[in-house]
């Protein structure tokens, strides 16, 4: 790894350690989720019903770490912050592995 790459990876690591700000700051400003990304329970509250297609497809994929949170919906802020931090690191690792695989497939060695 070159010195320049080391420096950039360090920058990314610092960014990863700062990710909890991504849940703490919105909480301070009492901001909710993103527009158009509501769960079916929130949709039901907003509209008074859940559109049929939405109800059918919303749960099609069970992600291993839903919402970057190990603790589920009622998790304390501490658990959320730790989960978020861990999710950032897991995310970097997963992205790195996937890119490595793509790199192995498309890039000729030693070129």
């Amino acid at each position: 790894m070159t010195g320049q790459q080391k420096k950039l990876w360090k920058g990314l690591l610092v960014l990863a350690l700062m990710t909890p700000l991504g849940i703490i700051i919105p909480e301070k400003f009492s901001a909710g989720g993103a527009w158009g990304e509501w769960g079916t329970d929130t949709i039901a509250r907003l509209l008074g019903y859940v559109p049929e297609g939405l109800r059918r497809w919303a749960g099609i994929w069970k992600a291993p770490i839903p919402d970057y949170n190990f603790g589920g919906k009622g998790a304390s802020t501490t658990v959320q912050v730790i989960s978020y931090l861990a999710s950032g690191l897991i995310g970097i690792l997963a992205v790195g592995i996937l890119i490595y695989i793509i790199g192995r497939i498309i890039v000729k060695n030693g070129k």
Binding site: L12, I25, S30, A34, G36, G59, I60, W61, A63, I99
Partner: protein
């Protein structure tokens, strides 16, 4: 901007999957031709950066949250075609591992954030930069690149949400998928981005761009394309470029 499962009708997400897969294959083919093993770490870093920057939720006080995507600065540093893959990989992991964005809507999300955004960002930068070789104009170009890129991506997302009630509704006229009409979804997505999230994206883009101009200028794809031409003293780069295109 990560559309979950159930919000888009198949009439919307299938064609968008098609377009996105087309861009993926073109992009991979281009990378196969141009990249070597020493580029792979940069691709991984770009993808990791995009993943991380999207975790920084920015609040509208008392309202919703949004985030930067990073596709603009990645397009400037590595080129828009490489950015397609870097951001798509990040979106895939977000959907598969963290349930952020749906599986059926992955094509749409990649289209908005990993296809539309890097290309818009890249071309806005080139357009605003013009023949300028440095100075404030480059910074303005970098800011607008991120700002416009994310805003246009938000407009596409708003349109995709907003056309759902027109495309699919049940017997009672109730929408089957995303419930809000274009007149609500489009302004909601466009305004929250143009007034806040895109400004954040623009600032991140210009700060990182300036860092790379100062420390790693040779790494910047958007500047080194045609680098040798621009360096010729007193040369009219516009004319030279035009001459090159004609060949």
């Amino acid at each position: 901007m990560h559309i979950p499962d159930g919000y888009l009708s198949p009439q919307t997400y299938l064609p968008l999957y098609g377009i996105t897969i087309g861009f993926w294959s073109l992009s991979l083919r281009k990378m196969k031709r141009e990249l070597s093993t020493k580029h792979v770490p940069y691709l991984a870093m770009a993808s990791a950066f995009s993943f991380l920057i999207m975790m920084f939720n920015v609040p509208v006080p008392g309202g919703t949250t949004g985030h930067a995507v990073g596709a603009g600065i990645i397009a400037l540093l590595l080129g828009p075609w490489t950015a397609v893959i870097a951001v798509s990989v990040s979106l895939m992991i977000q959907a598969l591992v963290f349930g952020d964005g749906g599986i059926t809507s992955l094509g749409a999300n990649c289209f908005n954030m990993a296809v539309v955004m890097p290309f818009v960002s890249y071309w806005v930068f080139r357009f605003v930069k013009g023949n300028a070789a440095g100075g404030a104009r480059l910074s303005v170009a970098a800011f607008l690149s991120g700002y416009v890129g994310l805003s246009v991506a938000a407009v596409f997302t708003g349109i995709e949400f907003g056309i759902q009630p027109l495309i699919a509704h049940g017997p009672g006229g109730r929408p089957l998928y995303a419930p809000y009409p274009l007149s609500v979804a489009l302004p909601a997505m466009a305004l929250e981005h143009m007034l806040l999230f895109s400004i954040v994206e623009g600032i991140i883009t210009v700060l990182l761009f300036r860092y790379f101009v100062k420390h790693e200028p040779d790494m910047i794809y958007a500047l080194t394309m045609g680098h040798n031409v621009a360096k010729q003293p007193g040369g009219d780069t516009g004319a030279v470029n035009a001459g090159r295109l004609e060949k």
